[in-house]
Each structure stands twice: as structure tokens, then as C-alpha cells.
């Protein structure tokens, strides 16, 4: 595999017109500000993560970009237009539980829905023009299946695929129509550690090689840290955006959450986020086992929890 192409604009202002731009964006639910002050420009091929404690409204930010939820403050521009108007140029993978094991539909058919699942009418077996289109569609479906490395199990019933296999097929589905912006809601959730690393690497590769801008909600930054271009850290009432090196620091996170948060750098260059007293030990345990041969060489890795300050504590501190 060729070495990954470095992103055009790691840290700096993007040269190409941004795929997604947020200016002072904020969302209110029932009079309470979920988060606000999100300023962001995502260039083609960039990988952005949305981080923050549970319930802070990470998925809500994706819904705002999709045009499913209006902003209370600021503005959002998606591919030069209002959110929700870009149609097939935006791919979306919502948060999910896995498919029912008894679901007897091939993975390939699930992927194909990304292409024609919203088309009304019957696919009649007509010759000529339609035949050519259907062939082109079958080729495209095979392309994305190859891209995510799902060739070996695409013809199995999706209910019998593992969580990682299902997630790859769903990413393939979202890629069918060659979107310029891909929105993923916790795609690594409920995957085991080797699969988290592999799917994170796959998403990073899609960014670099296909030039797709990816915005991904994550509750754990560690598996993707080596692939990230920028992060959005959401907190109640506020937000911090920038490169991981800018945002995942003691000063920024302490200011954002209003409670002491320490980011430590280990001797081998990994990042450890030490938060409030309720930081769950479970997370650090998981990352110790994760730091195996799958770690890209030289990539910074945080071994703490990005959710360091517990939500309750954060809220109290913010008032």
C-alpha cells in the first residue's frame, strides 16, 4: 500500500473551498444551550472527529449538518448550500445497533440500497439503456465492496456477518453515490478492538484516497487519533475546534470544561487524558490492549478517556 498522502491542510486554512463550514453554530433544546460557538471549515479529504461527554449533543451536530435540526445560533453551509439541499453529495451513517441475526438479506443488497434504495417503481428487466445503467450500478456496488474489503462476505446474509463486517458494508452503502461529505455517527461503537483499529484505518484511507471529507462522532478518540486532521470538542454551552494537538491539551480542555483536566504525554509520544475523579478505569484498560501492532508507527495515541470530565460534574462547573 502506498504511504498515505498527507492532508492538504493539516492545521492551516484549507486551500480548496470548504465542504462544510460552521460559523458560530449553536443548538438549543428546550431553552438550554447544548453547545455553541462551533467554528469550523472542513476541506475535501479531511477527517474531523466530534468529541465530548455523553449527552452533550454530538449527534445533534450531525443532524444540524444534515438539515434535520435547525441551528439556534450561527450558520452552517454544506457544499456551498443550505444543509439538507446537497442530496446525494452527502453520505450518512447513523448510530445503530447491529442487524437482527435472522435478517436474510445479502450484504450486497444492503449496499445496493445506497444506490437505488430510494428509487420508486419496479426495476424492470428492460434491454438497452436500462440494461447499461444496471450494469454500471452493479459495477459501482462491487467497487465500494472492494474498497471496504468486504468482498469475502458481501454475499452472505447480513444478519450472519460480524459487527465489524456489518459496519464495513454500511460504510460501503454510504459511499455508493460518491459523496463528497460523509457523516458517521459512532461507527466504532460496539466493535471489538482489532475491528475498531481496522475500521478507523479504513475511514482514514477513504479520506485520503477518495478525497471524501469525513465528519465522525466518536466517544473514544484513541482508535482514530492517528488519522485525524481536526477535532471538535463539545461541552455544555461551548466548544473547541482545531487540530488534535491544539485541542487535546490540558489548557484547552480545562478552560472548556471548567474543571481540571490534564493531558499527559508518555515517553513514547502517546497522550493520556486525566480528567475528574470519575474517569472510568475501564477505558484505560481497553487502550492498553489496543496499543498493539496495529498502531500506525509514530502516530500519537491517547490512552486516557476523552470523556474525562463526567457530564454531571461538567454541568455543575459550568453554572
Amino acid at each position: 500500500m502506498a504511504p498515505p498522502i498527507p492532508p492538504q491542510s493539516r492545521g492551516g486554512e484549507p486551500a480548496a473551498p470548504p465542504v462544510l463550514r460552521l460559523r458560530g453554530a449553536g443548538v438549543r433544546v428546550g431553552g438550554r444551550t447544548l453547545w455553541s460557538g462551533v467554528d469550523l471549515a472542513v476541506a475535501p479529504g479531511e477527517f474531523t472527529a466530534i468529541l465530548g461527554p455523553n449527552g452533550v449533543g454530538k449527534s445533534t451536530l450531525l443532524k444540524a449538518v444534515l438539515g434535520l435540526r435547525p441551528l439556534a445560533l450561527g450558520s452552517v453551509t454544506v457544499l456551498g448550500g443550505a444543509p439538507g439541499t446537497a442530496g446525494r453529495r452527502v453520505g450518512y451513517l447513523p448510530q445503530r445497533r447491529s442487524f437482527d441475526p435472522g435478517l436474510r438479506i445479502r450484504g450486497r443488497d444492503i449496499v445496493r440500497m445506497g444506490l437505488d434504495g430510494d428509487r420508486w417503481g419496479v426495476p424492470l428487466p428492460l434491454p438497452s439503456r436500462f440494461g447499461a445503467r444496471r450494469r454500471a450500478e452493479a459495477v459501482r456496488v462491487q467497487e465500494v465492496i472492494d474498497l471496504v474489503g468486504a468482498t469475502g462476505y458481501a454475499d452472505r446474509p447480513i444478519g450472519q456477518c460480524s459487527g465489524g463486517e456489518q459496519q464495513r458494508l454500511l460504510i460501503a452503502q454510504a459511499l455508493c453515490r460518491k459523496p463528497e461529505l460523509l457523516l458517521l455517527d459512532e461507527p466504532l461503537d460496539s466493535l471489538d478492538l482489532p475491528n475498531q483499529a481496522a475500521v478507523a484505518a479504513l475511514i482514514g484511507r477513504i479520506c485520503r484516497e477518495e478525497g471524501v471529507a469525513v465528519v465522525m462522532v466518536a466517544h473514544d478518540v484513541n482508535p482514530i487519533l492517528g488519522h485525524l486532521d481536526r477535532v471538535i470538542y463539545l461541552a455544555e454551552g461551548g466548544a473547541a475546534t482545531g487540530t488534535p494537538a491544539e485541542v487535546i491539551t490540558s489548557a484547552t480542555l480545562t478552560r472548556l470544561y471548567g474543571t481540571p483536566v490534564e493531558v499527559l504525554r508518555t515517553s513514547d509520544g502517546r497522550l493520556v487524558v486525566v480528567g475528574g475523579p470519575e474517569a472510568p478505569a475501564l477505558h484505560s484498560d481497553r487502550h492498553d490492549t489496543a496499543a498493539g501492532p496495529r498502531t500506525p508507527a509514530g502516530a500519537p495515541r491517547a490512552t486516557g478517556t476523552p470523556e474525562a470530565p463526567a457530564p454531571e460534574r461538567t454541568r455543575r462547573a459550568a453554572r
Partner: protein, 313 residues
């Protein structure tokens, strides 16, 4: 229907003459025609019922059809109209319940309560109508007698309309059934699709009830498509295969019922059940057999070429 007892027919072991004898009776020809229409429609709609896990909704609609049919007979109308009126009305009512379409509305206690009450009403109608010959059995467990030409036409017209609508909404309905959240993000009207599907299901249930009775609708609505989905995960194969299985079990059931003293509902259900058991056994055997030999292309989880490649990069 104990036709054999009446000395009407006897199995001759010559299938050709047997079929000729059977089809020399117009009521039998009508039963086969109606059976074909019903089997194909039920398998098509049932294919989505199995995918959407809406068998409880189908059962509810079928039970509601029983007072419809017995009420229709009581007021002097063909039972078929009663099935259609009540099943379609019930489908619309269920679709309007809060939570319908997310899989909760169809399973509420309210549904169970109303369903039991309507079943009791149906029983009352049968009791009120004194001249019913074996009426409860026929309405609950199926009958192939008394299907007139007009009824066959009605069944066919309803089936054509339902299949046309199903074909038009087929792909979005499949998308919304398998992956509602992504379908909604694609701006598909997921809620409206589930309402439309419930109405189609009401019509299909009303049709199936007319061969299998209210309580055995699953014989045509669930078993054939479930069998077909066991045999193939390809939508393009399992959908027509389900229709074929439904048609086969219906016609075999009608033939068996004609030449024996036992009711048609039993035979159709038994044949459909046998097909399902065979399919399950075949799957189990195939899995056991496949697990022993090497399975190319089905690498272990996370061990796909790309995963390894990326981890090493």
C-alpha cells in the same frame, strides 16, 4: 369439507383423470383460481411481513376479519366483503395509533384488548345466525367451498391493485424496512410507507383468510416467504420463490382436501409447515457440510486483506 363421504369422488391413482374429475366441478376450478391469486399475493406481501417482523400485526388483522365475515353472513352478504371491510378498516386504525411504524403501536395492550372483543363479537354473530352449516369452522380454519365467479374476479382485482402498489413502493419499502434510520435520512417517508404497507397487509390478510380461515392465515402469509428467505438471501430469488411455494402448497392442499374427508386449512398449513421444516433442515445440513470444508473468501473477523494491510502500514 367431507366431500369424499358423499361418494362424490375417489382417488384413482391416475393424476390426469383425477385432475380432470376435480376440475369438472366449477366450484373446484374457482377454488384453484382463487387459491392461485391468494397464494401469490400473500407471498409477496408476506415477504415484507417477515422482513419487517410484523407477524403480530398480520395476526391481529386476521382475527379482526372474523367478526367481519360472520357479520357479513348475518346481514346476508358474502363473507368475502366482510373480510375486506374489517381487515382494511383495522389496518387503517392500527396505522393511526401512536407509535405505529416504530414497531410498538401494533403490539400495545389496546390492540390485544380490542382483538379479543372483536373475536367474541364474531362468535356472537355466528350464534345469532342460526342456519350456519359448520360456519365457525369454515370462517376460522378455512374452506374452499362457495367461491363464486364474482368473488374470484374481486380477489383478482384487489390482488392486482395491491401488487401494483407494492411494486411501485417496493424498493423504498425494503429500504425503510431494513434500515429505517438511513432511509429517513435519505428523505424517504418512512412513516407513510409503513401506513401504506399496513393497508396492503390488510388486503392480503383478507384474501388469505378466505382460503385458510382467520386463524391459519400464516400458512400463506408467513410460512412460504419465510421458507423462501431461508433458502436464499437474494431478494430477487426469495420473492418469486415464496410465491411459487405458496402456490404449490395451496394447490396441493386443495387437491388433498378434495380427495379426503379433512379440511383444506389443515392441508395447506401442513404442506407449508413441511416446506419450512425441510428448508430449515437443508440450511442446517448445508451449514454443517460447509463448516467442515474450507470456505474461501470468508476470512475471520477483522482479518480481511485490507485490515491486515492497513494495520501494517
Amino acid at each position: 369439507m367431507p366431500l369424499a363421504d358423499a361418494g362424490l369422488t375417489a382417488w384413482s391413482w391416475n393424476p390426469l383423470t383425477d385432475i380432470q374429475v376435480m376440475w369438472s366441478y366449477p366450484f373446484m376450478v374457482n377454488a384453484f383460481r382463487a387459491g392461485a391469486v391468494i397464494a401469490v399475493l400473500s407471498a409477496a406481501v408476506g415477504w415484507f411481513v417477515v422482513l419487517r417482523r410484523q407477524t403480530f400485526a398480520a395476526h391481529t388483522l386476521a382475527v379482526v376479519g372474523f367478526p367481519g365475515a360472520s357479520g357479513a353472513v348475518l346481514v346476508g352478504v358474502a363473507s368475502g366483503y366482510g373480510y375486506f371491510a374489517f381487515c382494511l378498516a383495522a389496518a387503517v386504525v392500527i396505522a393511526m395509533l401512536p407509535g405505529a411504524g416504530q414497531g410498538h403501536g401494533e403490539e400495545s395492550a389496546l390492540i390485544g384488548t380490542v382483538q379479543a372483543f372483536l373475536l367474541a363479537c364474531g362468535f356472537l354473530f355466528v350464534a345469532l345466525y342460526k342456519g350456519f352449516l359448520g360456519g365457525v369452522d369454515a370462517l376460522l380454519f378455512g374452506s374452499f367451498l362457495g367461491i363464486g365467479d364474482g368473488q374470484v374476479v374481486l380477489l383478482a382485482v384487489v390482488a392486482v391493485v395491491v401488487l401494483a402498489v407494492l411494486a411501485a413502493v417496493g424498493r423504498p419499502l425494503l429500504f425503510a424496512s431494513v434500515d429505517p434510520s438511513v432511509a429517513a435520512a435519505r428523505a424517504l417517508p418512512v412513516r407513510a410507507l409503513s401506513v401504506v404497507f399496513l393497508v396492503l397487509l390488510g388486503a392480503a390478510t383478507a384474501e388469505a383468510s378466505q382460503i385458510t380461515g382467520s386463524l391459519l392465515v400464516f400458512a400463506l402469509l408467513v410460512m412460504p416467504p419465510a421458507t423462501a428467505q431461508l433458502l436464499s438471501p437474494r431478494a430477487a430469488v426469495s420473492l418469486p420463490l415464496g410465491m411459487l411455494i405458496g402456490l404449490a402448497v395451496t394447490w396441493l392442499g386443495l387437491t388433498a382436501a378434495y380427495y379426503s374427508p379433512y379440511p383444506v386449512g389443515f392441508f395447506v398449513t401442513t404442506f407449508a409447515f413441511a416446506a419450512y421444516v425441510l428448508a430449515r433442515a437443508a440450511r442446517t445440513a448445508a451449514t454443517a457440510f460447509g463448516a467442515r470444508g474450507p470456505r474461501p473468501g470468508t476470512g475471520a473477523t477483522g482479518g480481511t486483506p485490507h485490515a491486515v494491510e492497513e494495520a501494517a502500514a
